[in-house]
């Protein structure tokens, strides 16, 4: 009986695991969520001494996590832009999933920022006392605005739930919201463009950190544009990767092959452009920017170990150029294993890039009396990280179970049956 408890909420014509098995799947994530909630509670109650961050290491695991998930979550705005503005209609098959991923990523990032700031009840101060010259203010404004846009974009997906759409008013509202989705896609693109850029700009303007400091265009350092481009490049890859993972977990096809091909092709082209500009930027930084600030670039890598030159090579060549080629060449992209490997490598590459800017920047000494600082997060930081991961898994799992994340699923099931 338990296994049928929620059948009335599941869309018609699709197969879902029995309810008891779903609960078993959700239980470990719920446990991780509870542990993370406890760690967050400790941090909010007692303060940030529960973490291993200090005045030197002001950005730790949490900001790295924020930057990484926001880059990966770019699939939401970029897929929306491709579908509603550039009319890549085949992406209709993954837009709902992309929105849920974006929502999970951005809400997770905002949540962890609230803990990191330490006074979430005073979060509104940033709107009342904005420092319009600060990249961080721009990031705060755009992220909160874009999270609102994502919540609005999630509403039609939610209202399409089988039970909810029986209420005529809900169905009508869903329909009318859907009709104006292009407006949200455009505002989402604008907001995402600026906050992805400003997140990069945050590091590029650090004059006291020659490792991160970059020249640029007008008020924007080159990292502004590189962060935007890298996020746009890996967004479709992350959507392809999560769709593939969902297919593996559900043990059925959820989208047609052409969708993977489109995502891979777009991701590959943008990734190649990113690698090109990243190389240019790195060359400029090595030969001009860093020396002008008194630091020959090799000094940043003479500490070896975790922060050696291998990290630069891995980021640009291994997790940049290679996945770009894997995704670009049609014969390679046509093989699902290579396409997913390329997408996963691209996602890892952008994650490594955010790690470099967040952690390596702060680890490197800038004064003659400084030394290399190593930082290892406390269990509370890991647990809060785990909270976001568990929260994401649960939201996505529940959305997949009760909402229509992949509209082609029913059609593909019929096609399989025909065979």
């Amino acid at each position: 009986m338990v296994e049928r408890l929620d059948e009335a909420w599941i869309a018609r014509g699709v197969r879902r695991a029995p309810f008891d098995r779903f609960l078993l799947w959700a239980a470990p994530w719920a446990a991780l969520l509870a542990l993370g909630a406890y760690a967050i509670f400790l941090c909010l109650r007692d303060g940030l001494f529960h973490t291993n961050m200090d005045n030197r290491y002001v950005f730790g695991l949490w900001i790295f996590l924020d930057l990484a998930v926001i880059a990966l979550g770019a699939g939401a705005f970029f897929t929306g832009f491709l579908l509603y503005v550039l009319k890549k209609t085949e992406l209709k098959a993954v837009i709902n999933s992309a929105v849920v991923i974006g929502l999970v990523c951005y809400s997770g990032a905002v949540l962890i920022l609230a803990v990191d700031v330490g006074q979430p009840l005073r979060a509104w101060f940033t709107f009342y006392h904005p420092n319009v010259h600060s990249m961080l203010t721009e990031v705060t404004f755009c992220i909160t605005c874009y999270l609102t846009v994502l919540l609005i974009e999630y509403v039609p997906i939610l209202l399409k739930n089988r039970r909810l759409k029986w209420k005529p008013s809900m169905l009508v509202f869903e329909y009318n919201l859907h009709k104006v989705m292009v407006v949200f896609a455009l505002t989402g693109t604008l907001l995402s463009f600026f906050h992805q850029g400003s997140l990069g700009g945050l590091f590029g303007v650090l004059r006291g950190r020659p490792f991160a400091f970059r020249e640029g265009l007008l008020i924007w350092p080159s990292t502004f544009f590189l962060f935007v481009l890298s996020a746009m490049a890996v967004g479709p890859s992350f959507v392809a990767l999560t769709t593939w993972l969902a297919e593996k977990a559900a043990r059925r096809r959820l989208v047609k092959d052409e969708v993977y091909q489109t995502l891979g092709r777009i991701s590959g082209k943008l990734l190649l452009a990113y690698v090109f500009f990243k190389c240019l930027d790195t060359m400029l930084w090595i030969n001009q920017t860093a020396p002008e600030r008194g630091f020959p670039a090799h000094r940043f890598y003479e500490y070896g170990g975790a922060f050696g030159t291998w990290i630069l090579f891995t980021e640009i060549a291994l997790l940049g150029l290679i996945p770009a080629l894997l995704l670009l060449k049609p014969e390679w992209r046509a093989r699902r294993g290579l396409l997913i490997t390329g997408a996963a490598m691209a996602c890892l590459g952008v994650t490594l890039n955010r790690f470099v800017f967040t952690i390596q920047t702060l680890a490197l000494p800038t004064m003659p009396f400084d030394r290399l600082l190593l930082y290892w997060p406390s269990w509370q930081e890991f647990a809060a990280f785990g909270f976001v991961v568990a929260y994401g898994m649960l939201v996505y799992s529940f959305s997949y179970r009760y909402l229509t994340l992949f509209p082609q699923e029913r059609e593909l099931a019929m096609t399989e049956a025909r065979r």
């Binding site: 197969r15 319009v132 203010t137 169905l171 009709k179 505002t187 907001l191 399989e416």
Partner: protein, 271 residues
């Protein structure tokens, strides 16, 4: 200008940054409010049914949206782009189904009766013209087999306006609910007899060109049985609808609840 922003100054930085931010906020809020207002108007004008079908039709697979002329073989492959309302379809006007030979009174597809004295809607409702000029609306044989003996139909009250392709009545059985689409425009007069469910006074100028009849209805029913078989195979992993080539008399008893639910959704186009 921005009284709620502490320390606002008339500098380009403040103006550009806050101007862009508030413009975006206003656009987002305005768009949501416009959607709410349109929804309110739609509900007030009682046009939810039209919206329902528009949204439901978009969710149908290409196979489910197959044009009636593709089902009969007149066209090689074509999806309907008129939401199953052929009254405004130019292609349909050019391709009126022509059938030669004598017309039998009734046909049968895998045990499902298809009486040819009536018009069929693609949501498994039928329409028959009564002698007094009113229309009788009922469920076809496949619909009846889904309803079974213990199923219930929630009929519209007399005086209710029904419109083509908008939900007219609700079928309930085994905890499964499905909306049945109206095949006609008109006003409900009350329950009907002779196997029909309701009697309807047709709206002024009502035409039946969107409905199927004769050999076209038989071809469509064959397509439907085939489609339901496939859906069942997809839902359960095995084809279970047909038993010895015939559709069971009571599908609600013959099928597990989940499969029954799937078949109801597909048959009544309530996905």
């Amino acid at each position: 200008m921005f009284p709620w922003v502490y320390g606002f100054e008339w500098h380009a930085g403040y103006l550009i940054f806050l101007g862009v931010f508030f413009t975006v906020a206003l656009v987002v809020a305005g768009t949501v409010l416009a959607a709410l207002w349109r929804s309110f108007r739609t509900v007030r004008k009682k046009q939810e049914g039209r919206v329902y079908w528009h949204a439901a039709f978009e969710e149908l697979t290409p196979e489910e949206r197959r044009c009636r002329h593709a089902i009969t073989g007149e066209l090689p492959e074509r999806c309907c782009d008129q939401e199953f309302d052929c009254r405004g379809c130019r292609m349909h006007a050019r391709l009126q189904f022509q059938e030669g030979g004598a017309r039998p009174a009734e046909a049968e597809v895998c045990g499902v009766a298809v009486p040819l004295d009536r018009y069929y809607h693609r949501g498994h409702a039928w329409v028959r013209e009564a002698d007094d000029g009113t229309l009788e609306v009922g469920l076809d044989d496949l619909g009846r087999r889904l309803l079974g003996e213990d199923g219930r139909v929630e009929l519209p009250a007399p005086g209710t306006e029904v419109r083509v392709n908008e939900p007219a009545f609700v079928l309930r059985r085994n905890g499964v609910e499905a909306r049945v689409l109206s095949p006609v425009d008109g006003t409900v007069l009350g329950p009907a007899e002779n196997g029909a469910l309701i009697r309807v006074r047709p709206a002024e100028g009502f035409r039946t060109v969107h409905l199927l009849r004769d050999g076209e209805a038989v071809a469509w029913m064959r397509h439907e049985v085939d489609r339901l078989q496939l859906a069942l195979a997809a839902a359960s992993g095995a084809a279970t609808l047909a038993d010895g080539g015939a559709v069971p008399q009571d599908l609600g008893r013959a099928l597990p609840r989940r499969e029954f639910d799937t078949v109801c959704g597909l048959a009544f186009l309530d996905v």
